[in-house]
């Protein structure tokens, strides 16, 4: 756990309140630190400054000094240095703090500026909030309420712009709602590196559009929807599905790859409607790939494993009989949570079984999708499930062919997809724990339907060895059981000792059994994750390349 270097601090006065902020902070962020909201549209902490919305206008002043002598000029009445207020309002986003700087965020001039800007933004805005999906999380709504004048003086005709434009496969654009903040343009230029968006036409008729013949189709296109302060850019998938104020937010981790993108799962009454990124400056800033946002669809996928109708005790009895037959191999998963991997390892120890984990790699995009598509490979190492970077199941296949393995326990892994042939599968008895049907579940003697990542709680360790937790967003499928519970039952059934399958109990065991996790509990893991020491595995070569906020260790040694 490395402490960041202490930044140089600058003392500024915001509405008279003194605060020391890191050098280079802008006024909006400085005001945020004293709990003052400076409204803004175009400013985004992770994008370059455009300064074009003019909503964050503030009054700025510097202590007065005599020009000739550089002596401070004192105010006789208060005994303090006089402040030289700049007569014109300044933008908060583009103004970085300077020592002694004074800022007024609530003065009459600032209020009047905000009212003016709000009025201007609203005159050509369609005001179709009842239809607009952004309603409820719309900056224009919020700031019209907070800073607007409350009535309209505009009786002319509003501008007409294209509506319901397909900007890309996942993004729909309503230009009339656009406030031309240019966040999306800057995002595609600076983060997605896919410079396809831009404005055409002039003045109030300016229109956001895509470069002719191109589409906004990069894998980060939906981030433009997230950062759009109004409802101009909307997700085609989420469009007109549900008002956001009905949705419950649950913190989660994207299981797409080992980046461990922090997410928020939005659900209502057990149905997930969308997934959005959650800000974590150490992992994903405020972004996430589009491909991770559709993963919620697996919760209600057609091939979800349904309970067979056999009593759970029968399943357990059959599984126990198979496991007690000996010659067992356990295939754990890099997609299982840390807790599940721990219990898998415990089961394997109890059975004296060999353990395997299926490696899963793909091309990394250098941003938020890494080459290792297992979200929790590091967890398998930390829990001792495996000691090497996982590869394929060739070794297991050889053992099956040699007849050394009679029974295979698979925790959510499709063995045939991982390289075992149908003949090999036919030779062994399979106990399968999984959420979706596949060739392995079809071949398995015992199938325990389990939960998807959105229905259960747990934690992953990402490529940075950052321990991050996710919580269950929706109730599990009826009849499906949490993996932890099934694994714990199996451990007990084959003669092991159970400390309980709930998170608190499992973590008590984890903290006791794994040195790196000593003194930790599930509740103690911060929302932004906890960086673990990775010295033990520094000699291993992981498949990940460079991505946002992650430099692979190997790259450092070669460089």
């Amino acid at each position: 756990m490395i402490q960041p270097a202490q930044p140089e601090l600058v003392t500024v006065f915001i509405d008279g309140q003194e605060i020391a902020v890191p050098k280079g902070t802008n006024v909006i962020e400085a005001a945020r630190m004293v709990g003052t909201d400076v409204p803004h549209y175009c400013y985004h902490p992770k994008l370059s400054i455009a300064g074009n919305c003019r909503m964050c206008l503030i009054e700025l002043g510097m202590p007065m000094t005599d020009r000739a002598t550089r002596e401070p000029i004192m105010d006789e009445a208060t005994g303090k240095q006089k402040i030289n207020w700049i007569p014109r309002p300044q933008i908060g986003c583009g103004t970085t703090v300077a020592p002694g700087m004074h800022v007024k965020t609530q003065s009459p001039m600032v209020k009047e500026c905000r009212e003016g800007v709000m009025e201007f933004l609203l005159i050509n805005h369609p005001l179709d909030c009842p239809i607009c999906d952004q309603a409820g999380e719309c900056k224009l709504q919020e700031q019209a309420t907070g800073y607007g004048r409350g009535y309209s003086r505009f009786i002319e005709q509003k501008n007409v712009k294209p509506k319901r434009t397909r900007l890309g496969p996942r993004v729909t654009l309503d230009d009339e709602r656009c406030v031309l903040c240019s966040r999306c343009i800057r995002f595609t230029q600076e983060v997605a590196k896919d410079d396809v968006l831009g404005f055409v036409d002039r003045g109030s008729y300016s229109t956001l559009t895509c470069y002719p013949g191109k589409e906004l189709e990069n894998n980060y296109s939906l981030n433009t929807v997230d950062i759009c302060p109004v409802g101009a850019l909307t997700s085609t998938d989420f469009r007109f599905k549900m008002r956001v104020w009905f949705l419950k937010q649950t913190n989660s981790i994207c299981p797409e790859s080992s980046v461990g993108v922090n997410t928020v799962v939005w659900s209502r009454e057990g149905v997930i409607y969308r997934i959005t990124p959650r800000r974590n400056d150490e992992v994903n800033d405020t972004w996430m790939p589009d491909s991770g946002r559709v993963l919620y669809k697996e919760v209600q996928a057609e091939n979800r494993l349904q309970p067979t109708g056999d009593p759970a005790s029968d399943l357990l009895a059959t599984a126990t009989r198979l496991l007690q037959g000996g010659a067992v191999a356990v295939v754990g998963s890099g997609r299982s949570s840390l807790e599940e991997q721990f219990l898998t390892a415990k089961l394997a120890r109890q059975l004296h079984a060999a353990t395997f984990v299926v490696g899963r790699t793909g091309a990394g995009d250098g941003i938020l999708i890494s080459a290792d598509r297992n979200p929790n490979t590091r967890g398998a190492l930390v829990t001792g499930l495996i000691s090497e970077v996982p590869g394929d199941l060739a070794a297991l296949g050889r053992e099956i062919d040699a007849g050394k393995v009679k029974t295979v326990v698979s925790v959510g892994e499709d063995l045939s997809a991982a390289g075992l042939t149908a003949e090999q599968l036919a030779k062994v008895a399979i106990v399968y724990l999984g959420s979706h049907a596949n060739a392995t579940s079809a071949a398995a003697q015992v199938v325990f339907p389990t939960l998807t990542v959105f229905e259960k709680s747990g934690s992953f360790i990402n490529q940075q060895f950052r321990l991050q937790k996710f919580a269950s967003a929706v109730p599990g499928l009826t009849g499906a059981t949490d993996d932890r519970v099934v694994l714990d039952q199996l451990v007990t059934a084959v003669g092991g000792e159970s400390a309980g399958s709930d998170l608190v109990s499992v973590w008590r065991e984890l903290a006791a059994g794994i040195p790196g996790l000593a003194d930790l509990t599930y509740a103690k893991i911060p929302d932004t994750g906890l960086l673990l020491a990775d010295d033990t595995w520094s000699q291993l070569t992981f498949p990940e390349g460079e991505s946002l906020h992650h430099q692979p260790a190997a790259a450092e040694t070669t460089a």
């Binding site: 919305c53 003019r54 505009f154 002319e156 031309l180 003045g203 109030s204």
Partner: protein, 449 residues
């Protein structure tokens, strides 16, 4: 008091019989001698001379040229660029066009001197897209000069090299704004940049230190070096040195360009004596002294100004000496020297509608107040002249303008709101009384946008 005689420096030869815009003619009239002289001097000295001369920019803001040059970041190690702002689009202004068309070598010489003074290796002339002829003339003149060794490699045999390129704008008023111009020059939308941090002197063209000067300003540089800064200081009044070209348009008998020493001529002398006064049977009603974005002056209003010794003097519009400071003190500006005259045949609401239509069309659309406000002002004034005026519209349009000025990235905010503010302030009665039977045929012509 009769008007003083014209003092032509820039336009010295322009109207002369047989004066052409080729190099031979220019050299015959002493062209490029100042450049040759300047190349022997130290650049710092030239900069010092310009600073000493008190030359103020002729593009509109009237900022000191010497000071501007002094801001340039010379320690960054990055190349320094000089950009000639020939994007003359302010309604009522047509001086640069004449310089370019009639005397392009004067501009080239001034530019080269300035380049040398600032150690510039590359200069651009950003010319307005609607000046194709000017661009052709410039191209040809530069080629002539390049062939003659005044531009390009090893100028005049020295080891100083600097080339000039002509860049034609794509036709937008906002390209005249210096950072907008730089963006446009870089090949982007001409969205002005935010200052801070993008001061051209530090982070200009291609993020390098950049000087952007008006055509006329650069021409003056040549004359400063020609006559020496002390001599130049004697022209005009203190702090308002040199001559100014006034582009008089509108309801006078003799519109056109006139060059006078700064502050030597009053508005009355210019309009009555020089331009021949109002048309038959008409009276002057109002005048815009510095291009359409300057605040309007109403004939009959008076201004109380403070003298340097503390005493006060009262000026009528006719008495205002046409220099930078007095006009600023009277609440308007010298701007680009485009004097627009209106007589009593003009309806001010319609005039404003026309101006607003222009600015609504020209706003770049980057920052909110100007983008939305300029079109709204246009919509209001257009509605008014279409017979749907309301009594409160004057106040409304002014308060919209108030919400723009001072809150935008660039000076366009002021440019589009000052006319409205001053029109409503000074002709508020006309705005109140404007009603539907005033709907005129000119309303149809106002469909500019």
């Amino acid at each position: 008091m009769p008007a003083p005689a014209e003092r032509r420096i820039i336009f010295k030869h322009i109207d002369e019989e047989g004066y052409s815009n080729d190099l031979a003619c220019y050299q015959k009239h002493g062209g490029y001698q100042v450049l040759q002289k300047a190349l022997t001097a130290r650049p710092e000295d030239i900069r010092e001379d310009v600073k000493k001369s008190g030359l103020r920019g002729r593009g509109g803001a009237g900022f000191s040229c010497g000071l501007k040059w002094s801001f340039v970041d010379r320690k960054s190690g990055k190349p320094i660029y000089l950009v000639v702002n020939a994007d003359e689009s302010e309604p009522g202004t047509f001086k640069d066009r004449y310089i370019i068309h009639q005397d392009p070598h004067q501009l080239i010489e001034g530019t080269m001197i300035s380049c040398f003074a600032n150690d510039v290796k590359q200069a651009y002339i950003y010319i307005r897209g609607e000046f194709p002829e000017g661009a052709r003339i410039l191209e040809r003149a530069i080629q002539e000069a390049r062939d003659a060794g005044f531009v390009g490699r090893n100028i005049c045999g020295t080891d100083y090299s600097c080339d000039i390129f002509v860049h034609r704008g794509a036709g937008a008023y906002i390209c005249g704004e210096e950072t907008g111009l730089i963006e446009s020059l870089e090949g982007k939308r001409a969205n002005p940049r935010i200052k801070p941090p993008y001061f051209p002197a530090v982070l200009g063209l291609y993020q390098c230190p950049t000087i952007v000067n008006n055509v006329e300003t650069l021409c003056h540089v040549k004359h400063i070096l020609d006559m020496g800064p002390d001599e130049y200081l004697k022209i005009g009044t203190p702090n308002n040195t040199g001559t100014r070209i006034f582009c008089v348009s509108g309801h006078v008998k003799k519109p056109g360009y006139y060059e006078y020493a700064c502050g030597e001529i009053t508005m009355g002398q210019l309009l009555y004596d020089v331009c021949g006064g109002p048309r038959e049977g008409r009276e002057f009603k109002a005048v815009i002294p510095g291009g359409s974005s300057a605040k309007i002056l109403r004939f009959g209003e008076t201004f109380t100004l403070k003298n340097q010794d503390g005493s006060e003097r009262v000026l009528k519009v006719e008495d205002i000496p046409l220099d930078f400071d007095t006009l600023a003190a009277c609440g308007t500006m010298g701007g680009s020297g485009g004097v627009i005259v209106m007589d009593d045949s003009v309806n001010m609401v319609e005039a404003l509608a026309n101006i607003n239509a222009f600015y609504a069309h020209e706003s770049c659309g980057q920052c909110t107040p100007c983008r939305e406000g300029s079109l709204w002002m246009k919509k209001i004034s257009s509605r008014m002249v279409h017979g749907e005026a309301r009594e409160e519209d004057g106040e409304l349009i002014k308060s919209v303008a108030d919400q723009i000025a001072g809150r935008t990235i660039c000076a366009f905010g002021e440019a589009c709101s000052w006319p409205t503010q001053s029109f409503v302030l000074k002709f508020g009665d006309e705005f109140k009384a404007y009603n539907e039977d005033k709907k005129t045929k000119s309303a149809d012509r106002l469909e500019l946008v």
